[in-house]
Amino acid sequence: MLEIQNLTIRYGRHLAVDNVSMHVAKGETVALLGANGAGKSSVLNAIGGRVRPASGLISLDGRDLAALPDHRIVEEGVALVPEGRGVFGPLSVEENLRLGAMPRRARTGAAEAMDEIYALFPRLAERRRQAVRTMSGGEQQMVAIGRALMSRPDYLLLDEPSLGLAPIVTEELFAALHRIRSRGLAILLIEQNVRLGLGMAERAYLMTSGRITGEDSSARIATDPRLAETFLGRTGTA
């Protein structure tokens, strides 16, 4: 279980995440929803070791993740696909995937893993030698996710995978994510496309101004008035 307790993150004097607690169980898919600037990405980045929390605990099956240097997190089985994807643009698809298998835990069986990813994203198989930066946003997102999967993670953290993608590509991507989920991998997802996100997740957290403002099963959150409020504001306030 991936567990976050009383996480607080500051950038200088700006309080980005305020005493947030949440958890993701093994094999579970969880969505983290909220308006821009609510602090969702900060939470993900803190788990991935890219941001040092001011206080709070991040633990994976009891092991303290926050104490590890950033490059060690992925060895623990937590792979992050950050916003903006973080792909190695000038490198080819295949090189990006090979880099995904850099962690020790992933070195054996990397070839099979790569085949699986090509099966998952047939578009990538067609373009293994192409430089990633010359590809479309959707394809780049596939590379980023594929690369994360190459490290054989137990937990996959996705930050806005559909950002800037055409609807049809988004659909394709989520179809693949559904297949990935069915393999028993746990996923923590930030998704601006709320319906898509909730469609995939079993459970969801709502976040506003750095705080968790709601938590429930996806089905219930979808009809919760707090959801619309999170994005479109309280109707009628003037």
Binding site: G12, R13, H14, L15, A16, A35, N36, G37, G137, E160, L163, G164, A166, P167, T170, Q192, N193, V194, R195, L196, G197, G199, S209, A228, F231, L232, G233, R234, T235, T237, A238
Partner: protein
């Protein structure tokens, strides 16, 4: 009459069009919200208006002149001021110096006591006058935002571009911020604001333009726009259609 007229503006980065064929206008004294989900091209549009980016196509007319592609300093002197998405203060300068800058290099080129008086009045407006000798780097986040606004005001702009100026404020601060912006419209400053805090948008902006994937998908009275299915779909996903 419009103070800002945007017609057919496109911005391509490499092959990707961040803004495509966008047109809308802002009238004198009007306060308009520019909305859209993450990555829909709002900040890119603001950057083109302020001169930080050069449009690939199209015209941006400010008070009748096409300013598309002009250097930002010329645009600033023409009467457009802005704040930045990630607050940008001048950390090594004092508050008053921060605010003197646009006055000194703006249309009136104020200097000396006159500039200081002007800057002080701008600081006063955002409630920072008492701390005008502090170094900007030592301010809290909200005060940095205030300072940034005071700096924009100091240019005495006709058009003010606010890029998520209210983001990151707590509820109490938010109310203060809203009141502050509202007070500006009384001075006749036209405002174009990118904002994610809908509460503020509803409170401040009678009119809203919504972008998605670089295109304009809605333009009209805020309440109407926010209830349009396309807009909800843009925010909450296509699944809303189903």
């Amino acid at each position: 009459m419009s103070i800002l007229d945007i017609s057919g503006v496109t911005k391509r980065f490499g092959g990707l069009a961040a803004v495509s064929d966008l047109s809308f206008s802002v009238k004198h004294g009007e306060i308009v919200a520019l909305l859209g989900p993450n990555g829909s091209g709002k900040t890119t549009m603001i950057n083109m208006i302020s001169g930080a980016l050069v449009p690939s196509n199209g015209q941006i007319r400010f008070q009748g002149d096409d300013i598309a592609g002009r250097a930002p300093d010329r645009i600033a002197r023409a009467g457009i001021a802005r704040t930045f998405q990630l607050v940008r203060i001048l950390p090594s300068l004092s508050l008053i110096e921060n605010v003197v800058v646009p006055a000194a290099f703006g249309r009136r080129r104020l200097w000396g006591d006159e500039a200081l008086r002007h800057a002080a009045s701008c600081l006063d407006r955002v409630g920072l006058k008492a701390r005008c000798d502090l170094r900007a780097a030592d301010l809290t986040y909200i005060d940095q935002k205030r300072l940034e606004l005071a700096r924009a005001l100091s240019a005495e702009p006709q058009l003010l571009l606010l890029d998520e100026w209210l983001a990151g404020l707590n509820p109490a601060e938010l109310q203060e911020g809203i009141a502050l912006i509202r007070s500006l419209t009384h001075d006749g400053i036209s405002i174009l604001m990118v904002e994610h805090i809908m509460e503020a948008v509803r409170a401040l902006c009678p009119r809203t333009v919504v972008m998605a994937a670089g295109r304009k998908i809605a333009d009209g009275p805020t309440a109407d726009v926010l209830s349009q299915p396309e807009v909800i779909a843009a925010y909450l996903g296509e699944a809303a259609h189903a």
